[in-house]
């Protein structure tokens, strides 16, 4: 991505949102042969970003994959990994299963090509297994 494009994306961040910390080796670049739309990924606030950074520390490889998917295909369903939540309460909210015990919940905005992460961290326990 060009520096101008990045600057333009960062301008779209509304306080208290902060740009989600990029895991090492997960910089997303646009290649000429496979053009992709790249989404701006932000944390709802600094606390959420801190939780995300803790998740990176725990599971760097999974976090990298998650970050890439959020940048490139946040609204592409991947069964048992990436999907919109069911029910009215969280309509429009998507869940990303980063690991068996970690989740990221986010809202994608298709018009702004922006993903806002509201929660990154441990999965709810205890839970009955379906």
């Amino acid at each position: 991505m060009s520096e101008n494009a990045i600057a333009e994306m960062i301008e779209n961040i509304e306080p208290p949102e902060v740009k989600l910390t990029v895991p090492e080796l997960a910089e997303i670049t646009e290649t000429s042969d496979i053009p992709k739309t790249i989404w701006l990924v932000v944390a709802k606030n600094r606390r959420v970003n801190r939780d995300w950074e803790a998740l990176i520390q725990r599971n760097p490889e999974n976090a990298r994959r998650c970050y890439k998917d959020l940048c490139i295909a946040p609204i592409t369903r991947q069964p048992r990994r990436v999907f919109p939540l069911k029910g009215k309460k969280y309509q429009g909210v998507w869940e990303y299963e980063v690991t068996g015990g970690d989740r990221v919940f986010y809202i994608p905005d298709e018009t702004q090509l922006k993903v806002v992460v509201f929660y990154a961290g441990k999965h709810i326990q205890p839970a009955p297994t379906p």
């Binding site: 208290p16 606030n45 048992r80 939540l85 009215k88 969280y90 709810i124």
Partner: protein, 147 residues
Amino acid sequence: MNSIYSDELVTATELNRQPGRILDKALEHPITITRNDQSFALLRREDVALFVKTAQHSREIVELLNTAFRLLLKQTIGNEHPYGWLAVFDTDELNEFINEVMSAYRVSDRQEQAWNELEAIIHEWYESALAISNPELEAAFSQTQKS
């Protein structure tokens, strides 16, 4: 399922004499091997795995749908119930759940991929139920200005 054994019978002696030919047949459809008054099935391992999966899932689907219908009838389902998590959904949502599961089940027809999709749908509803009942998540979505 009722036609899987509408096949030719092969004696154990015949199997001993021509194992290759019989196995070639079993590749295409189940074979019944007879020995005296006993009978055995010879079929692909993947088929058996799929039959077992179908039976297991069918039981699970019946139990899941039964729970959903009981909730629609306003019956109480305890937290200890394996599908008690469905209780977080209201009538509209339960109907949507039933429709989604039924639709996926109708097309499953003993195909591995279709069963996987059905499993994924149930998993996504389950994860959604956990999210709905999670106070931490509720706080995360309601705190819009704190950092």
